[in-house]
C-alpha cells in the first residue's frame, strides 16, 4: 500500500533525521542540568506530600533548604537521605519541617555515608514507582473490566474552578458521550512554582491541578466508567513551572493523558526555554513509565500565526515532539501529537487545505493517537456559522482518521459552554460519524491534485525550516519567533533561576530508575489502530512503504 498523498519516503526519513539533529543538543542540555521542580518531583515520588500553614508544599521547603545549604548541583537526594539516615528525623516530612524551621544542616556525604544515603533514597523512590506501576496495571484491569471506546475518542472539557462542581459535570459529559475528560487548569497555574495542595474550590477559568483533585476526579470517573461499561479517560496538564512534579502526581493518581508539549510553555506562557526542556525530559520519562499518553500543543501555534502560512511549523513541532518523546521512552501509541482546524473559512479551498494538512499528519505519524483540535480563531459569535464549521471539522477529522477529537463548541470564545452547547456539539459529531465515518476509506486524493500537492508542499517547507533550525540551533530559532510568531530568548522568561548544572557527583534516584527503562508491559492506554475500528484503510508509514 502506498501513501494517499504520494509522500516521498526519502523526504520523510530526512525530516525525522533533521528533527533528531535539531533536538539532540537540547537533550544533551537536559541530561546535564536539573531544575528545582525535577528535584521536588524526586521528593514527591519518595512520598513527601502536604504543605505548611501557608500552603507552601513541604517539597518546596525542603528543596529550598537544601539549595540554600549545599546547592542543588548534586541533587536533592544525597543531602536529604544523608540527613535521614544519620538519625534524628523519623520521616521525610519530619525532616522537611525541621529544615523549614532552619534547624537542619545539610551536607554532602562521601564514602560509605554516600552509599547508605543513595540506597535509602533509591528504596524510597522505588516505592513511588511501584505505585505508578500499580496504577498502570489498574488502568489495564479497568479497561478489561469495562471496554475501550472506539476511536475517534471524544474529548470534552470541564472547567468550573471547583472540583466538586467539576465532578458531576464530568460525569454528565461522560454519560453524554465523552471518552476523555480534560479538567482545564486555573489560569496562571503554569506560572506557580509550586503545586497547590488538597481539594480546591476556587480557580480562574479552570481548576487547580492538585494531587487530591486528581484523585477525586479519577475515582468519580472510575465509578462512571463502570456504570457506562466504557473506560473514561482523564486528562490534565503537565506543563508550566511544575511540569515534572505534576507528571509524577499524574502517574501516582492514574491520569490517562497529560498535555505536555516541548515548546508550549516557552512560547505561550513565557517560561524560560532551558527550564522547559529540562523539566520536559524528566516529565516525559515519567509519562512513559506511567503509560500516560501525552497531548502536544501544536494547535496553539495556529491561534497566533496564520494556519496556512504556518502549517509547516506545526509539522516541525510535531517532529520535534516525536523526537523528544521517543528519546524519553514514550511509545508511538503515547504520542498524542496535536494539530488544528484553524484556517480562515474565507480562504478559498480552506477545507481542502485542512484535509491536506490533517492527512499529512496522519501519514507522517501513522501509529500516533493524533489529537485534532476544533476551530477557535474563526469562531465569530455567529453560532450558526460556527456550528457548520464544527461539522466540517468533524468531517475532516473522520476522513483523515484522527484519533482524538476535541469537540468544538458553537459558542467558542463567547462563554464557557452551556449545557445545551455541549449537547449540540455531541449531536454534531454523532451525526457526522454516523453519516460519513467511513468516508476515509474512499478518500483518495488525486496524486497531482490540490490536496496531495499541498501536503507535499507543507512537508517540503517543514524540511526547509528544520534545516534552518539545525543550522542556527533550536534555542535560537525559538528566540527568532519561528513558532507562534513569538520571540523567546534562551535566557528570558520565567524560572531560569531554577535551572542548575549537574555536578559530576549528581545523584537522582528517580532518573536512575527511569533511565534503566520501563518495566515489561505493553502500552495499554493508547488507542489500538487495529480491529473493526480501523475500517478506514490504515495508512502505512510512508518511510516503510517503499
Amino acid at each position: 500500500m502506498t501513501s494517499k498523498l504520494g509522500l516521498d519516503p526519502a523526504t520523510v526519513r530526512t525530516v525525522r533525521e533533521l528533527a533528531r539533529k535539531a533536538g539532540e543538543p537540547i537533550t544533551e542540555m537536559a541530561r546535564t542540568h536539573t531544575t528545582v521542580s525535577v528535584e521536588r518531583a524526586v521528593l514527591r515520588l519518595a512520598g513527601l506530600n502536604g504543605a505548611d500553614a501557608d500552603g507552601m508544599p513541604w517539597v518546596n521547603r525542603l528543596t529550598e533548604a537544601v539549595q540554600n545549604s549545599v546547592g542543588l548541583e548534586h541533587g536533592v537526594a544525597l543531602p536529604v537521605w544523608h540527613a535521614l539516615t544519620s538519625g534524628g528525623h523519623a520521616s521525610l516530612r519530619g525532616l522537611a519541617e525541621a529544615a523549614a524551621a532552619g534547624t537542619v544542616t545539610f551536607r554532602l556525604p562521601g564514602g560509605d555515608d554516600a552509599r547508605t544515603a543513595r540506597s535509602a533514597a533509591a528504596r524510597s523512590v522505588a516505592r513511588g514507582f511501584a505505585t505508578i506501576d500499580g496504577q498502570r496495571a489498574q488502568r489495564s484491569r479497568m479497561i478489561a473490566a469495562t471496554a475501550d471506546p472506539p476511536k475517534p475518542w471524544i474529548y470534552l472539557i470541564v472547567a468550573t474552578g471547583d472540583i466538586y462542581e467539576d465532578i458531576p459535570q464530568a460525569q454528565a459529559a461522560a454519560r453524554e458521550g465523552a471518552d476523555i475528560i480534560a479538567v482545564i487548569r486555573s489560569t496562571g497555574q503554569s506560572l506557580l512554582d509550586y503545586v497547590p495542595e488538597g481539594a480546591t474550590r476556587e480557580g480562574y477559568a479552570g481548576t487547580y491541578a492538585t494531587r487530591e483533585n486528581f484523585r477525586l476526579m479519577r475515582a468519580a470517573l472510575d465509578e462512571t466508567s463502570r456504570e457506562l461499561g466504557r473506560y473514561v479517560r482523564l486528562t490534565n496538564y503537565a506543563s508550566g513551572l511544575c511540569m515534572p512534579e505534576i507528571a509524577a502526581l499524574a502517574g501516582l493518581e492514574r491520569l490517562d493523558m497529560m498535555l505536555n508539549d516541548c515548546m508550549y510553555g516557552i512560547i505561550f506562557r513565557d517560561i524560560n526555554p532551558r527550564r522547559t526542556f529540562i523539566d520536559q525530559r524528566f516529565s516525559r520519562q515519567v509519562h512513559a513509565r506511567a503509560g500516560i499518553v501525552i497531548n502536544t500543543g501544536e494547535d496553539n501555534y495556529l491561534t497566533t500565526a496564520d494556519a496556512v502560512d504556518a502549517a509547516h511549523t506545526v509539522v516541525v513541532s510535531q517532529l520535534l515532539n516525536e523526537y523528544f518523546g521517543k528519546e524519553a521512552g514514550l511509545a508511538d501509541a503515547q504520542l498524542g501529537l496535536g494539530h488544528a482546524f484553524e484556517i480562515n473559512p474565507a480562504v478559498p479551498d480552506s477545507f481542502l487545505l485542512e484535509l491536506a494538512h490533517a492527512q499529512l499528519v496522519r501519514e507522517l505519524f501513522p501509529d500516533a493517537p493524533l489529537k485534532y483540535m476544533p476551530p477557535t480563531k474563526h469562531m465569530t459569535g455567529n453560532v450558526f456559522a460556527g456550528y457548520l464549521l464544527d461539522a466540517f471539522f468533524n468531517l475532516c477529522g473522520l476522513m483523515t482518521d484522527q484519533s482524538i477529537l476535541l469537540i468544538g463548541m458553537m459558542t467558542e470564545g463567547i462563554h464557557t459552554p452551556f449545557l445545551s452547547d455541549r449537547d449540540l456539539a455531541l449531536e454534531n459529531v454523532r451525526y457526522v460519524r454516523a453519516a460519513a465515518g467511513r468516508l476515509g476509506e474512499s478518500f483518495r486524493p488525486e496524486p497531482d491534485g490540490f490536496v496531495a500537492t499541498r501536503a507535499r508542499e507543507v512537508l517540503g517547507e517543514a524540511s526547509g525550516l528544520l534545516r534552518r533550525i539545525c543550522d542556527e540551533g533550536l534555542l535560537n530559532a525559538i528566540a527568532d519567533g519561528t513558532f507562534g510568531v513569538t520571540r523567546r530568548p534562551p535566557d528570558g522568561g520565567r524560572g531560569p533561576e531554577g535551572v542548575v548544572k549537574k555536578a559530576p557527583e549528581y545523584f537522582n534516584p528517580a532518573t536512575e530508575i527511569l533511565d534503566a527503562g520501563p518495566p515489561p508491559a505493553k502500552n495499554d492506554n493508547g488507542p489500538e489502530r487495529t480491529g473493526e475500528d480501523s475500517q478506514a484503510v490504515r495508512t502505512p508509514q510512508p518511510a516503510e512503504a517503499s
Binding site: A172, E176, T187, F268, L419, Y431, V485
Partner: protein, 327 residues
C-alpha cells in the same frame, strides 16, 4: 442526537390548541399579570408604556407610508414581513423530558418563560431532553417590544482610521522619534492571544500588528505581568503608551485589574506625563474608560490599525494630562 421523540413535540407545539391547558395564551396572561407581583427587583419592566408606544409607533409608521418613506424612528424585529416582530431564542430549563406528562409540563414551562420574555404568541419548535434533568428548547415568537432608534446611543470612533504609512508619518512629524508601546497581560491572565494579535508583526484579521509600524517600538512583556513590573518597565522604556489585554473576566478581574493599573500609573507619575493607558479585551465596555481611569478601551474585534490610528491621533497637540506628553 435529535431523536424521534422531538419531532412530534415540535409539530405538536406548532399546532394551535394541542398544547393542553398550558398554551401560549395562558403564558402571556401569566406574564402580563406578573411583572409587578413576581418581579420585585425590577428586572421586568412595566409593559404598559411600551404598549402605548407601540400603538403610537404603529400609527406613525402607517402615516409615514411604510416602504419608501423616511427611516422609521421606531422599529421592531423583522422575520419575513415588516413589523412582524418575530424572534428566535433558545434556552435550557432544569426540567425532565421523559414521560408524556413531563414533556407537556416542560413545554408549558418553556412557553411560560417565553411569554414573560415578551413573546406572544410563542411556539416551541424544538424540545429535547439533555440527560435526565434538563430540557433544551428552541422557541420562535413575536415580540411586541419596540426599538426607539432616537434613544440608541453608541460610542463613535473619535479618530480617523489611518494607514500604516499615515501613522508613521504623523509620529515622525509630531514626535520626531519612535513612539514606544509597552504591552502586557496583567494579573492572572495568561491569554496573550489578544495582545499578541495587536502587537505581533503577524497582526490580526489581515492587518499587521504594531511591530510592523516603522515608527512604533514595541515591548511585549507577555503574560501574567505584575502591575509594579509593568509600571517599572514603562518608565524604563519611556513608554508613550501602555497596552494591556485582559481576557479572564471571572469576578470581574478584568475591571479590578484595569483600575489597579490606572491607580499605579497615577501614583508613579504624580507630575503628569504618564503614558496613555489603553486596555483591551472581549468583555470591556468601550464607554467605561473614564470609570476605569484609563484613556481608551478597545473591545472585541479591534484591529491593530485601529489602535495605531488612536495612538497617532493622541499626538495632535501632543499634550496629555495638561502636560507636554514627553520632553
Amino acid at each position: 442526537m435529535s431523536t424521534d421523540d422531538t419531532e412530534p413535540t415540535a409539530s405538536r407545539a406548532a399546532q394551535p390548541g394541542t398544547g393542553g391547558p398550558v398554551t401560549a395564551g395562558d403564558g402571556t396572561a401569566a406574564g402580563a399579570a406578573q411583572p409587578r407581583s413576581h418581579g420585585p427587583r425590577g428586572a421586568v419592566r412595566p409593559s404598559r408604556p411600551r404598549d402605548a408606544t407601540a400603538s403610537t409607533a404603529a400609527r406613525a409608521r402607517s402615516a409615514a407610508g411604510g416602504i419608501g418613506g423616511p427611516p422609521p424612528r421606531t422599529i421592531r424585529p423583522y422575520g419575513d414581513t415588516t413589523g412582524d416582530g418575530r424572534v428566535q431564542v433558545s434556552f435550557t430549563l432544569p426540567v425532565p423530558f421523559g414521560s408524556e406528562t413531563e414533556r407537556a409540563r416542560a413545554e408549558g414551562a418553556a412557553l411560560q418563560l417565553a411569554a414573560k420574555m415578551g413573546l406572544d404568541p410563542a411556539m416551541v419548535v424544538h424540545a429535547k431532553g439533555i440527560g435526565s434533568d434538563f430540557t433544551f428548547f428552541i422557541v420562535y415568537g413575536r415580540v411586541s417590544h419596540l426599538v426607539d432608534m432616537s434613544a440608541v446611543t453608541v460610542t463613535e470612533r473619535e479618530f480617523p482610521l489611518l494607514t500604516a504609512q499615515e501613522v508613521n508619518l504623523r509620529i515622525r512629524s509630531e514626535l520626531g522619534r519612535k513612539f514606544v508601546v509597552v504591552g502586557a497581560c496583567i494579573g492572572t491572565d495568561a491569554h496573550t492571544v489578544g495582545i499578541d494579535a495587536i502587537l505581533n508583526v503577524k497582526g490580526h484579521a489581515g492587518e499587521k500588528g504594531l511591530e510592523y509600524y516603522r515608527e512604533i517600538r514595541v515591548v511585549n512583556m507577555g503574560a501574567q505581568v505584575g502591575v509594579p513590573d509593568l509600571v517599572a518597565r514603562a518608565r524604563a522604556e519611556r513608554a508613550d503608551a501602555v497596552l494591556v489585554s485582559q481576557v479572564v473576566t471571572q469576578r470581574d478581574a478584568h475591571l479590578s485589574n484595569a483600575r489597579e493599573m490606572a491607580a499605579a500609573f497615577r501614583d508613579a507619575y504624580p507630575g503628569g506625563g504618564k503614558p496613555l493607558l489603553v486596555v483591551g479585551g472581549p468583555r470591556f465596555d468601550p464607554a467605561a474608560a473614564g470609570a476605569l481611569g484609563v484613556d481608551a478601551i478597545f473591545g472585541r474585534g479591534t484591529t491593530p490599525r485601529e489602535v495605531a490610528s488612536y495612538l497617532a491621533a493622541t499626538l495632535d497637540g501632543a499634550t496629555r494630562d495638561g502636560e507636554p506628553a514627553h520632553v
